[in-house]
C-alpha cells in the first residue's frame, strides 16, 4: 500500500496550508478550472462533431467511470482490484443476454428497463462475491486473486457457447428508445454518459466524506486499529466492492450500448490492465484522476498511430507507448498526473510565498 500511503502523506502536507477557506471550495473563484471543464462538457455537442463527441469524450466518460470504481477501491479502500473491467464486461454481457440482440438463440429479449437493472444487480452480485473472495487475503494478494478472477472470466467467455456465445460474442445489441428519443443517437448518448459519469463522480465524492467512506479510509490506513474500535473490517471492504461493482456495472452497460456488441476481447486481461493503467496514470487519490487518466488513454489510443507514423516509427507500437508511459508514471510520480500537477502547483506557491515571507522576516 506504500504507493497510496505515500501519495496520501504528500496530499496531507499539501492540504495543511489551505485549510482555512474551506467553505468557498465550490465557488467559481476557488476552482476556476473545474467550472470551466464542467461548462465545456455541458456544451460539448455544440463544439464537437459525432466522432469526437462519442469516440473521444463519450468513450473517455465510460472508461473513466469504470476506472472510477477502481479508484474508489484503491484510493479509499487500499484494495487494487483488477477485476473492475470484468464486472463491467459481465454487466454488458448480461444486458446482451437478457435484452434484445442479433443472437436470438441466446438473448431472452426482455425490454431494456427490465434487462438493465437485472444486469446491474447481477454485476453487483458478481462484484460482491469476487470481493468476498479477495478480502480473504490482504494487500498484494488482492491483485493476484482479482487478476485470476478476471482471466478466468475471459477464458470462460471464450469456451462457453451456451451463455456467452464463445469467441464470436454477442452482436447487434438493441439500445433503449424511450420518451421518443433514440438514446444511442450521438448527442443523446453523450448526455446519457455525461449524466451517469457525473452521478457516479458525485456519489463517490459524497461517500468519501460520509461515515462509510471515512470508516473505509480508516480500514485502509490501519485495519487492526479499526477492528479494535469495533468496526467490521471485512464487511466494510466487501461493501466497498459491492458499491464499486455498481459503478463498474453502469460503465459496462454504457459500453455495451456504445459498441452494440460484446465479445471475449472486451474482457481480455489486457483490457483489465488498461483500467489499472487509466486509474494509476490519472492518480488514485482523487476521483477526478480516473477521468483525467481515461482522457489521456483515449487520446493516446486514438492518435498514437498517426503520431508514431509522423515521427517515423511503426504505428502498431501503441501498446509499447502505453506501457512505457505507465512505467514512467509508476517510477516518478506515485500519484499519477494529479500528483505531478500538485507538485507543480506547490512549486508555484513556494515561489509566490517565499519573497513575502522574507519581507516580513
Amino acid at each position: 500500500m506504500s504507493l497510496i500511503q505515500e501519495a496520501r502523506a504528500r496530499e496531507g502536507m499539501l492540504a495543511q496550508p489551505g485549510t482555512a477557506p474551506q467553505p468557498a471550495a465550490w465557488s467559481v473563484t476557488e476552482q476556476p478550472w473545474a467550472w470551466a471543464v464542467a461548462a465545456l462538457l455541458l456544451i460539448m455537442p455544440l463544439i464537437a462533431n459525432g466522432f469526437f463527441l462519442i469516440e473521444i469524450f463519450g468513450t473517455t466518460l465510460i472508461l473513466g467511470t469504470i476506472a472510477l470504481s477502481l479508484m474508489f477501491l484503491a484510493g479509499y479502500g487500499g484494495m487494487v482490484s483488477l477485476m473492475q473491467l470484468t464486472i463491467a464486461g459481465f454487466a454488458g454481457y448480461m444486458v446482451a443476454v437478457f435484452g434484445v440482440s442479433g443472437n436470438a438463440n441466446i438473448s431472452l429479449g426482455w425490454p431494456w428497463w427490465l434487462a438493465t437493472p437485472t444486469a446491474l444487480v447481477l454485476a453487483v452480485l458478481f462484484g460482491t462475491l469476487g470481493g468476498a473472495l479477495a478480502v480473504r487475503t490482504e494487500g498484494i494478494y488482492t491483485i493476484m486473486i482479482t487478476l485470476a478472477i478476471g482471466a478466468a472470466f475471459y477464458y470462460f467467455t471464450n469456451q462457453n457457447w451456451a451463455i456467452f456465445n464463445g469467441h464470436t460474442g454477442i452482436n447487434t445489441i438493441a439500445t433503449p428508445h424511450f420518451i421518443g428519443i433514440d438514446w444511442r443517437s450521438d448527442i443523446a448518448f453523450y448526455y446519457l454518459t455525461l449524466a451517469v459519469a457525473v452521478a457516479c463522480y458525485g456519489v463517490v465524492l459524497y461517500l468519501s466524506r460520509a461515515p462509510f467512506g471515512l470508516a473505509l479510509q480508516g480500514v485502509r490506513d490501519n485495519p487492526r486499529r479499526m477492528a479494535a474500535l469495533g468496526f467490521n473490517v471485512n464487511a466494510h471492504r466487501i461493501a466497498a466492492y459491492a458499491f464499486a461493482a455498481l459503478i463498474a456495472g453502469l460503465g459496462g452497460v454504457l459500453q455495451v450500448w456504445n459498441y452494440r456488441q460484446i465479445s471475449p476481447g472486451s474482457v481480455a486481461v489486457e483490457r483489465c490492465i488498461d483500467i489499472l493503467i487509466v486509474a494509476v496514470v490519472g492518480g488514485v487519490t482523487r476521483p477526478v484522476g480516473a477521468y483525467i487518466g481515461a482522457f489521456i488513454f483515449v487520446m493516446l489510443r486514438t492518435f498514437a498511430l498517426d503520431f508514431l507514423v509522423k515521427v517515423g516509427l511503426d504505428g502498431n507500437r501503441f501498446r509499447l507507448l502505453i506501457g512505457l508511459g505507465f512505467l514512467a508514471i509508476v517510477f516518478w510520480s506515485s500519484d499519477g498526473v494529479i500528483g505531478l500537477y500538485e507538485r507543480w502547483r506547490k512549486r508555484g506557491q513556494h515561489r509566490d510565498t517565499r519573497p513575502g515571507g522574507h519581507g516580513h522576516g
Binding site: 478466468a152 469456451q159 509508476v330 517510477f331
Partner: protein, 336 residues
C-alpha cells in the same frame, strides 16, 4: 503427516478415499456399467496423463513465480512474459542448431540474465514497496509483450521434438480387455513423459537445494524474515539476484517445454501467468511443495474438465481456487 491425520481425521479420510478411488480408476479394468456412464477408459487415462504432464509444465512456471514471491514479496506479473520469451529463444536456438538440449541451456541462461537485469536495475530501487513493484511488473509485461509481438509477429511457433523422443511408448496400464481376453495397453507420447520426469527431477533438486544446502538455508531464512537475515551479515542483495535469476531461468526452461508440447504465440504469456497465479494461490504462496501440489491439481482439473465438461472446464479450475480460498486462504501447503 501423522499430525495432520490427528488434527483433521475427517479430511484425511476424504483425501484417502479420493486417492483410493483415483488409483482404482487408473489400474482396474472398468466394469461395463462405468464405461457406459462416463465413456471409455482410454479417454480417461489419456486425460489423466495429459493432466499430470501439464501439471509438470505448470510446476516449472509456478515454482519460479512462488520462489520470487516467497523471498522478495514481489508478485512478478511479468513472469508470463519471461515464459514466452524463453519459448521464443528456445525456438530460435533449436531452429538454428537443431539441438533440443542446447535450446534449454540457452533459454535458461538468457532469461536468467534478464531476471538479473530486472532485479538489479528495477526492483532493487523500490525494495519493500510491494504494490509499486507489482505495478512495475505489469508495465514491464505490457512492454515485453509488445516488443515480442514486434520481433516475432503473431505466428504460432512449435519447437521440433528431437528424433529420439518422437513416437508413442506403451505403458503397463490396461485400457480395455478384448473379447479374446487379450489386454490393450495405453500408448502415450514419449516426449511428454520425459519432460514430466525432467520437471520432477528439477523439483526434487530444488527441494534438496533449499533444504540441504547453505544457500538454501539462507533463502529459507529470507522467506521468513529478510530484515533479520540481512542483520546477521548475509549479503542479501546477492541472494535476491540469485533467486530472481533462478526463478526467471525456470520460466525460460518452461517456455521451451511449452513450445515443444504445445506451441508458443502471443497470448500464451497471459495463459501461463494465470496458471501460475492459480497454482500458487491453491498450493500456498512461497512454498515449493505447494507449487507442485497446486500444479498437479490444476493440470488434472483442466484436462479432465476439458474432456468431460468442455464448455465449463475453466470453471472447475476456478472453483478449486475459490474452495481453497474459502477453506484455507493461505493455500494448501503454506505454513502460517
Amino acid at each position: 503427516m501423522s499430525r495432520f491425520i490427528e488434527r483433521q481425521p475427517i479430511w484425511s479420510l476424504v483425501i484417502l478415499l479420493a486417492i483410493a478411488l483415483f488409483t482404482w480408476l487408473i489400474f482396474a479394468v472398468w466394469p461395463p456399467g462405468l464405461e457406459d456412464a462416463i465413456g471409455r477408459k482410454k479417454v480417461f487415462l489419456s486425460a489423466v496423463f495429459n493432466g499430470i504432464t501439464l501439471g509438470g509444465l505448470y510446476f516449472l512456471v509456478a515454482s519460479g513465480f512462488t520462489l520470487i514471491f516467497g523471498l522478495m514479496r514481489n508478485v512478478n506479473l511479468a513472469h508470463g512474459s519471461l515464459y514466452l520469451f524463453g519459448g521464443y529463444v528456445g525456438y530460435g536456438i533449436s531452429a538454428a542448431t537443431g539441438s533440443w538440449i542446447l535450446a534449454f541451456v540457452v533459454a535458461f541462461v538468457v532469461v536468467a540474465a534478464i531476471g538479473i537485469l530486472l532485479q538489479f536495475l528495477v526492483f532493487r530501487r523500490m525494495e519493500g514497496q510491494d504494490l509499486r513493484q507489482t505495478m512495475v511488473t505489469i508495465g514491464l509485461s505490457i512492454v515485453f509483450a509488445d516488443l515480442m509481438l514486434w520481433a516475432f509477429g503473431g505466428d504460432f511457433y512449435q519447437i521440433q521434438t528431437p528424433a529420439w523422443l518422437i513416437g508413442p511408448v506403451q505403458l503397463p496400464l490396461m485400457t480395455a480387455m478384448k473379447s479374446s481376453g487379450e489386454a490393450v495397453f495405453l500408448q502415450y507420447p514419449l516426449v511428454r513423459l520425459v519432460i514430466f520426469c525432467g520437471s520432477v527431477v528439477i523439483g526434487v533438486l530444488m527441494w534438496l537445494a533449499l533444504n540441504r544446502t547453505r544457500v538454501g538455508m539462507i533463502v529459507r531464512a529470507g522467506v521468513d524474515d529478510r530484515e533479520i537475515l540481512a542483520a546477521t551479515g548475509v549479503h542479501i542483495q546477492l541472494v535476491f539476484v540469485l533467486v530472481f535469476a533462478l526463478g526467471a531461468g525456470l520460466a525460460g526452461i518452461a517456455g521451451v517445454v511449452g513450445g515443444t508440447f504445445q506451441s508458443i504465440s502471443p497470448g500464451e504469456d497471459t495463459r501461463f501467468l494465470l496458471a501460475s497465479l492459480v497454482v500458487v494461490i491453491v498450493g500456498g504462496m512461497g512454498s515449493i511443495p505447494g507449487a507442485a501440489l497446486g500444479a498437479l491439481i490444476i493440470g488434472l482439473a483442466e484436462q479432465l474438465g476439458s474432456v468431460y465438461i468442455p464448455t465449463y472446464a475453466i470453471v472447475v479450475t476456478f472453483l478449486i481456487m475459490v474452495l481453497v480460498l474459502a477453506l484455507r486462504p493461505q493455500g494448501l501447503l503454506a505454513r502460517r
